[in-house]
């Protein structure tokens, strides 16, 4: 089992959610986050004076999947979240040692 964590542009959330539903992903957890990558924030202007916005708003998605689904999932997120412009985000994949569905007590891939 894998945990896929994706940081994406907030306005791409709907597209990504749809793409994941289409390939049969059952659940997503979404968090509003702030951060920067290589572009290091940007400057804004207020009454003629510049100020730097270091941390830009992003959306963090967490998706737990069966290992067999990994390639499909990565492809779906990459395709849906891509704009080709700087700041599109990143995807992190980590091993998942256990999943438990709280309501029924099911564990492992049955609980995905």
């Amino acid at each position: 089992m894998k945990l896929v964590t994706a940081i994406i542009k907030p306005f791409k959330l709907d597209d990504v959610r749809e793409a994941l539903s289409d390939i049969g992903v059952q659940g997503i957890t979404v968090t509003e986050v702030k951060g920067f990558g290589r572009q290091k924030g940007h400057t804004e202007l207020y009454r003629g004076a510049e100020y730097v916005v270091d941390f830009l708003p992003k959306v963090k998605l967490e998706v737990a999947i069966a290992s067999a689904m990994l390639d499909q999932t990565l492809e779906a997120i990459t395709k849906a979240a891509n704009t080709g412009k700087i700041g599109d985000g990143k995807i992190f994949v980590t091993e998942l040692s256990q999943i438990i569905r709280i309501r029924t007590g099911e564990t492992g891939e049955e609980a995905v």
Binding site: E44, L45, Y46, G48
Partner: protein, 421 residues
């Protein structure tokens, strides 16, 4: 029959005065919303408290002694009355003035119209010293400003008294119709001396001389405040005609409304375009300041310019206010809402534009009047600020400033749900 017509005219002029006064009162709401929008959210409750309290203090102090000093009235307005007692004397005054002569209206309405102007002058100060001044130090200053400093310069101008027996501004050709100098520049002069003694907000200017932006928390509120002020200004300038009850006066009132509106529009557009050219973006806060700058610029003489000239005068204010805000920032005079530029710089501009359309005024008279008002208010305010600084201090502690004056001064936040629960 003649007496009945005089009574109707009296009623109309009094009613007009009261309605205009109520419109000017509403400008206090405009200042409150504008300032609350342009400060950070952690200082919102305190700026609201300052604004409602300064309005109330202005009303009380002008009643206690301000009106007495400015218009030779009586302490605590004693002698002012209503009802039947005044009918005979009002009719006699109306007969003496004639139907199209000077305005005859209720004494109480005169006080009401004048008192809201004091509050306007005081409101100007609160924005410039926002986010760092102690609440009670500010309110202490408001007592002296509205009870003494403003009424003194008001008596030299609108009441025609000699300046300490030395010279008379009216004789020198000074004219300030609704108070570009008497109200607006006076408020700004008090604000400048306060800001000089108070210093800039922490973090506004870097050690290397850089200017950092501190964006306002709520621009919808700032925009609403500007529109409220714009509306209230019709009472400010329109009411200053003092009379509605004959055709000539009505025409003058209509012209004042028209020009006031045109100047605000001109100011807004000029500031918006200039900001776009200078910064590459349409800076809303500059546009809002531009509208107010246009209003201040036309206030010294809204009745004689043509609509086109009024628009141009307003636009001059709109351009000047942007340049003034940038210059004050370079001088490290921190004014979070731009009050000194809007009311001071453009108030002076308004005074100097009067002789272009009003032959009764002179450039030298305007200049001497402006200097008299500015020096008087700047110096006396400076003394009062300094005494307050010695007694109780002007500025909150560094930690209180960082946490926001809402908590240290008022003990409550404006938007508590954002941080707790």
């Amino acid at each position: 029959m003649e007496n009945q017509i005089f009574e109707l005219q009296y009623a109309m002029d009094t009613f007009y005065f009261l309605i205009c006064g109520a419109l000017v009162m509403w400008m206090a709401a405009g200042f409150t919303m504008l300032e609350a929008g342009l400060v950070r959210s952690k200082n919102t409750t305190e700026i609201l408290t300052k604004n409602v309290a300064l309005y109330a203090i202005s009303c009380i102090m002008y009643l206690v002694c301000g009106y007495m000093i400015m218009y030779d009235g009586a302490f605590m307005l004693s002698g002012i009355a209503g009802g039947d007692a005044l009918v005979a004397s009002a009719l006699a005054a109306s007969a003496e003035e004639g139907f199209d002569g000077g305005s005859v209206y209720a004494d109480a309405s005169d006080f009401f119209f004048q008192v809201v102007f004091v509050a306007t002058a005081m409101s100007i100060v609160s924005g410039a010293v926002a986010e760092r001044m102690k609440l009670w130090s500010f309110l202490g200053f408001a007592v002296i400003m509205t009870g003494f400093i403003y009424p003194m310069e008001g008596s030299w101008t609108w009441n025609g008294a000699d300046v300490f027996g030395m010279y008379n501004l009216g004789d020198l050709g000074f004219s300030d119709f609704a108070g570009s100098g008497i109200v607006h520049m006076a408020g700004a002069a008090a604000a400048i001396s306060g800001v000089l003694l108070l210093g800039a907000r922490k973090g506004k200017y870097g050690k290397d001389g850089s200017i950092r932006a501190i964006p306002g928390a709520n621009l919808p509120m700032a925009a609403l405040g500007t529109f409220i002020l714009w509306m209230g200004w019709f009472g400010f300038n329109g009411g200053s005609v003092l009379k509605l009850g004959d055709i000539a006066s009505s025409n003058a009132v209509a012209m004042v409304f028209l020009n006031t509106n045109a100047a605000a529009a001109g100011g807004l557009i000029a500031a918006l375009i200039l900001a776009r050219i200078m910064f590459g973006k349409a800076d809303l806060t500059m546009a809002l300041n531009g509208a107010l700058a246009g209003l201040v610029a036309i206030t010294a003489e809204p009745s004689t310019p043509s609509p086109m000239l009024a628009t141009i005068f307003g636009a001059l204010g709109g351009v000047l206010v942007v340049l003034s805000i940038l210059t004050l920032d370079k001088l490290k005079l921190d004014d979070p809402v731009g009050a000194i530029s809007v009311h001071g710089t453009c108030g002076f501009l308004g005074l100097m534009l009067v002789p272009l359309t009003n032959d009764a005024s002179t450039f030298s008279g305007q200049l001497i009047g402006a200097l008299t008002i500015f020096i008087w208010v700047f110096v006396t305010s400076g003394i009062v600020w300094y005494v307050i600084k010695l007694i109780m201090g002007l500025r909150v502690s560094e930690q209180e400033e960082a946490e926001g004056v809402d908590l240290s001064e008022c003990g409550m936040e404006a938007y508590p749900e954002f941080v707790t629960q």
